[in-house]
Symmetry: C2
Subunit: 239 residues, 2 copies
DNA sequence: CGTAGCATTGATTCTCTTCAAGAGGTGTGG
DNA sequence: CCACACCTCTTGAAGAGAATCAATGCTACG
């Protein structure tokens, strides 16, 4: 048997409400649990899947943090997202035979593996699961549109602030301190993701700190004036 | 032909191969057809759905062209995509009760309406339909990641050239002339979508024309040297 | 034929990138 | 435990590229 049998049961998992909507009943959760293998552990820099790998599963983040990226022919990397506990990675590979992206752990991370074959089969039987999958995929699409807008229109400051506030909101969903963030990724990764040079990211953070809106100590970030930050994002739109 | 009743049967539709993968058999197509209402017609500037509307359907483009956009609180618009015949709009609203985006016709356009309730129900019964939906959603995700990379890293020229080549490829899929494009959208829309000022779009097009790579006459665009264009996109990566 | 909207072109300004140097932190080996 | 090297982050100065402002040209449509 497994080492921590209870931990693999979604019913007992603290992240249940994040992975699945509240509408899921006990029997649905039980059936999903049966698909989930023992959570697997990854260390910093480990890849969960890589560009070109056969697409076998979705993964729900149980602890830690990851980045997903597209590696281009030229060797350039585009970081497409950072993922926290309760979030699902691999959606961009759904329906494909092979992975088009790469997922890399940013720190010690554990993941619940959801085999696609099982998920597809089960979502034939559970309309609410199918609906949920559609929903998280469309949510991902909408989030990307927001980011596209950010990249298209927003200044460096607005991009960074939006990212910080977004991260804060996601932490809050996890019932974690909304004002104490840990930037698991490097400045370079952050810059890549936001379409900025890493120096620019650093400068913006320093400026925000100088203005007394945040405190930064390496990867640790404290939000001092969330409203003032939000105001700066709005400000760029009002003109 | 397109107004003939029989045209609502996917089996008889010339775009069948674009809307659905070849694996769909006759009975599957027939059942999908039964969901599709008579194609509805839209004029330039008509909206198919708007931000906040109840989410009732996906739409397959039958003829014409549309743009989809997110309207932000500030009144700003972010154009998230342009859609051609055989493509499906509304995926970003899947699983949501209300639309988070707006779809606007760029010219005379006809659409096949696919009610979500029917689509959801039918995809419970047809695994290949469910798989296809997952696939087009994930394809949309991957396309957005490409665009994100474009916005994050690429120069104005590369953005415009990538867009042109992408459009050309999509035309080719439709068995249309790959080198004769009609830019149904305005320069402003194009600039918005690519994260550039409309003047910059215009300048880049003029420059490409001056270099003898394309010909531009208003909305009409002819590609003279596809390879040279592709080379310019690559060039920015090799460094 | 004239007007309105869209597109092009030019000049200037500004933001971000790039290049460069130095500081802070971390991990390893002596 | 300290010293050194390595890596990441910060900060500064210069330059490039696109945005903005502004004027003119083109096209379509009543």
């Amino acid at each position: 048997m497994s080492l921590h049998p209870a931990a693999t049961r979604c019913l007992d998992c603290g992240l249940q409400k994040l992975c699945f909507p509240p509408s899921f009943d006990e029997s649905a959760l039980t059936r999903i649990s049966q698909l989930v293998a023992q959570p697997s552990a990854f260390s910093k820099h480990d890849t969960v899947y890589r560009l070109g790998d056969p697409m076998t599963a979705l993964y729900a983040v149980r602890s830690g943090a990851l980045k997903t990226s597209m590696l281009l022919a030229s060797g350039e990397e585009q970081i497409t997202g950072f993922y926290l506990p309760g979030e699902v990675i691999g959606l961009d590979n759904m329906g494909q035979s092979h992975c088009a992206s790469t997922a890399t752990a940013l720190e010690k991370t554990t993941l619940c593996e959801l085999p696609v074959s099982g998920i597809s089969r089960l979502s034939q039987q559970l309309p609410e699961l199918q609906g949920h999958l559609f929903q998280i995929m469309s949510t991902e699409l909408r989030a990307d549109y927001q980011r596209l807008h950010l990249m298209a229109q927003a200044s460096a400051e607005v991009r960074v602030v939006s990212f910080i506030l977004g991260l804060s909101a996601r932490q809050q969903q996890r019932h974690l301190a909304a004002h104490e963030l840990r930037l698991a990724m490097s400045r370079a990764d952050l810059g890549n993701h936001l379409g900025l040079a890493l120096e620019t990211v650093s400068r913006v953070l320093s400026q925000l700190a100088a203005d007394g809106l945040i405190e930064v100590h390496g990867k640790q970030l404290r939000i001092l004036h969330a409203e003032a930050l939000a105001a700066r994002v709005q400000a760029s739109c009002h003109e």
